[in-house]
């Protein structure tokens, strides 16, 4: 483990030798990609998906192969989650899958590394079928680079024995209520920038300009931002507000009944449902009343999962057809039914009858109209740490009304500080 330099020297000698010798046959099952036959009839595609979706992914791919008449398809599956896609693909594009899912905050970097195939086939249909925000998240410089298929943001879970449907519409009402046995009326992860931005977005602030692509703009220190900041200062002092509830604490709180409502995402749905039983309910985030008396809806940070095609694939047309198949109406419906993923397909997202069977997904879909898409420009990497620091200072009580402006200026300055290189 100590050093691998000698290894490097020895192996590079061996490598240069291997370059002269013709490539020996690779094992069809385990070779990374592109081992499809030379004849156009047989196509082997490598597909990556996350572990929890493997069974579903296999079924969808097999259905794709079955409905295709002109070619024989075979598939090689790999386990790479959407969140890890950028890391794995950029490590070695030529060894990456032909078709892979990735999270939309990776779009810009994948495109600038040249890893994604520009989508030309059926482009208009894809744009029309999916929500505008999700298509935008897959678009860079007016070119489409992927097929959106899952919409993701956070929303509120609550215990319907403790809050009525009316009360969860306003945070003030929720926090004012005394509920027996409940220590925390509303839990939130204040020092996580992904969640924290909800208050600033709610007050009308914009991160990286109107469309989230301008690395020189962030107005969290504007007058609106100060309103949000003042609201947060009061909020963290409220003993019924759960300041730093991460996933583990949220689930434990719902399980022992000391928590009445919390902000989280669909990945916790099944466990929270199991703890709350028939009192399980979900809704969009509540409205908040800013210090100037104005009522605003809390925003949220949204993300999409996008199916991309490898730019170095040997079978671009087939790979595009598969990616389109995996993200079409039927398969988004299957994902919703089996994995509780919120669709990006317009027809499905607007179908309230279908979605209402799943409270978490319908809450998510409702919240997404107030959501801001998490930007994928490289500058966004600068956002998380200052946001976390701001959240920690808030909870520690270091930030007061007197130094709020100064702290927000510092926050924005760190977010906008130039990335070198």
């Amino acid at each position: 483990m100590n050093t691998k330099k000698i290894l490097s020297a020895v192996l590079s000698a061996a490598l240069s030798m291997s370059l002269f010798s013709a490539c020996t046959g690779r094992n069809e099952d385990t070779s990374q990609q592109n081992s499809g036959g030379a004849s156009s009839g047989n196509v082997t595609l490598t597909v990556w998906g996350s572990q929890e979706d493997q069974a579903l992914l296999k079924r969808m791919c097999e259905e794709f192969a079955a409905q295709s008449t002109d070619k024989k398809y075979s598939f090689v599956y790999g386990v790479v989650s959407e969140a890890d896609a950028k890391k794995e693909v950029l490590k070695d594009i030529s060894a990456a899958a032909d078709v892979f899912g990735f999270a939309s905050d990776q779009t810009a970097e994948l495109v600038s590394a040249g890893a994604l195939y520009r989508i030309t086939k059926d482009r208009d249909k894809i744009s029309a079928d999916n929500t505008v925000a999700s298509v935008n998240a897959a678009t860079v410089n007016d070119e489409l680079y992927g097929y959106p298929y899952v919409s993701d943001t956070y929303f509120m879970y609550y215990d319907s024995s403790k809050f009525t449907e009316d009360e969860v519409k306003e945070l003030e009402k929720m926090l004012a209520k005394d509920i027996e046995g409940v220590k925390t009326n509303f839990a939130f992860d204040t020092d996580n920038g992904w969640y924290q931005a909800a208050f600033f977005f709610g007050a009308g602030c914009k991160l990286f300009g109107e469309d989230g692509t301008d690395p020189t703009k962030c107005d969290f220190n504007s007058d609106r931002g100060i309103l949000a900041g003042e609201y947060l200062i009061d909020l963290v002092k409220n003993s019924k507000y759960g300041v730093n509830f991460d996933d583990g604490m949220v689930k434990a709180g719902f399980a022992d009944g000391t928590l009445a409502a919390a902000v989280s995402g669909t990945w916790n749905a099944s466990e929270i449902e199991a703890s709350l039983g028939e009192n399980y309910a979900a809704a969009k985030l509540p409205m908040i009343t800013l210090p100037n008396g104005e009522k605003v809806q809390m925003g949220s940070m949204a993300n999409f999962k996008i199916m991309g095609v490898n730019s170095e694939t040997k079978h671009p047309l087939e790979a595009m057809a598969l990616a389109e198949w995996l993200t079409n109406y039927d398969n988004q419906l299957a994902r919703f039914n089996e994995r509780s993923y919120a669709p990006t397909n317009v027809k499905l997202a607007e179908d309230e009858n279908a979605l209402s069977s799943n409270p978490a997904v319908s809450a998510l879909t409702e919240q997404s109209q107030y959501a801001t898409v998490q930007t994928s420009i490289p500058q966004s990497g600068n956002f998380w740490t200052p946001a976390e620091a701001f959240g920690q200072d808030l909870t520690a009580g270091i930030i007061t009304r007197d130094n709020l402006k100064e702290k927000l200026d510092k926050y924005v300055e760190s977010v906008l500080s130039t990335l070198n290189g």
Binding site: M1, K5, I6, T24, T30, G78, A252
Partner: protein
């Protein structure tokens, strides 16, 4: 003013020392106790606001060892064991050979080689991981990640020869010389004279070269990629902590952590005596 007797002051300082040691002991043992308790906890979930589980179960272990979806723990455990055992044997051999050569033989490049190794040793191994990845790719080996891992762990092993060399230096050269007079070759001296006298350092080398691949995360994560069946335990268990899985699988993760620690713990306990001898013996003369 009463004069404290020697005995009383001795007792006072002993008490203070023992209280301190007890506190430190508890601090060190608590996390271990907690992970063991978690592995037997009947309630799922990553966070609980109490220390003692409300119910105890063996299901975490049973599920972990029997399931194949979504996690193939037994497969990964076997992978890791295989890689660790093979690379342990290989690295031990290389380390001892390197140490013997640099300790006993005299040749012109000896000093320069030792200096080069010293400088190379200053760079952390993971700096070269992308280079290693592309080299393995060039060799068409990436389709069998376990072979790659074994190669990676064995290949750089010779660089950590220091302690073994220090130990060999303490074995009198007169022994070698008398063997030469009787017509022994260098290999015979290494295998028949030096090694039998070096039990502590062999044990030490075996231990360190087994643990390195056993607990490594960085190289498997770069080499295994999407090949789920070739994961090692460290890589696979890290998957259990992803936000989709952590709630359901946290107690199984704890069970996995306990199982993973068993081979290392038993190796250490059985070889503890030699381990200390090896470190101190080798450190006498560097």
């Amino acid at each position: 003013m009463a004069v404290k007797s020697y005995k009383a002051s001795q007792r006072a300082s002993d008490t203070a020392v023992y209280i301190l040691l007890t506190v430190l002991g508890i601090v060190w043992i608590l996390p271990l106790l907690w992970i063991i308790l978690t592995s037997f906890r009947a309630e799922t979930g990553s966070y609980t606001n109490y220390f003692w589980p409300k119910g105890y179960t063996l299901n975490n272990y049973a599920n972990l060892l029997t399931q194949t979806e979504p996690f193939r723990f037994t497969k990964w455990f076997a992978n890791t064991l295989l890689v660790s055992v093979i690379s342990c044997a290989g690295s031990t051999f290389f380390v001892l050979c390197t140490a013997f050569v640099l300790s006993r033989l005299r040749f012109r490049m000896r000093k320069p080689i030792m200096n080069i190794i010293l400088v190379l040793g200053m760079f952390p191994g993971f700096m070269s991981m992308i280079a290693v990845y592309y080299i393995l790719k060039g060799l068409n080996l990436l389709s069998s990640p376990l072979v790659c891992l074994t190669l990676v762990y064995i290949a750089g092993a010779g660089l950590s020869y220091y302690i073994a060399k220090g130990f060999f230096d303490t074995i009198p050269r007169a022994l070698d010389e008398s063997a030469y007079l009787d017509g022994a070759t260098k290999a015979q001296i290494f295998f028949k004279i030096t090694l039998p006298l070096s039990k502590p350092i062999i044990v030490y080398t075996v231990l360190t070269s087994f643990i390195a691949p056993w607990v490594d995360y960085i190289f498997p994560s770069i080499i295994c990629g999407s090949d789920y069946d070739s994961y090692t335990v460290a890589l696979g268990m890290f998957r259990m902590l992803e936000r989709e899985f952590i709630g359901t699988f946290y107690t199984q993760f704890a069970a996995g952590a306990v199982i993973v620690s068993i081979p290392i713990a038993s190796l250490f306990i059985s070889m503890q005596k030699y381990y200390v001898e090896g470190v101190t013996g080798g450190a006498v003369k560097g």
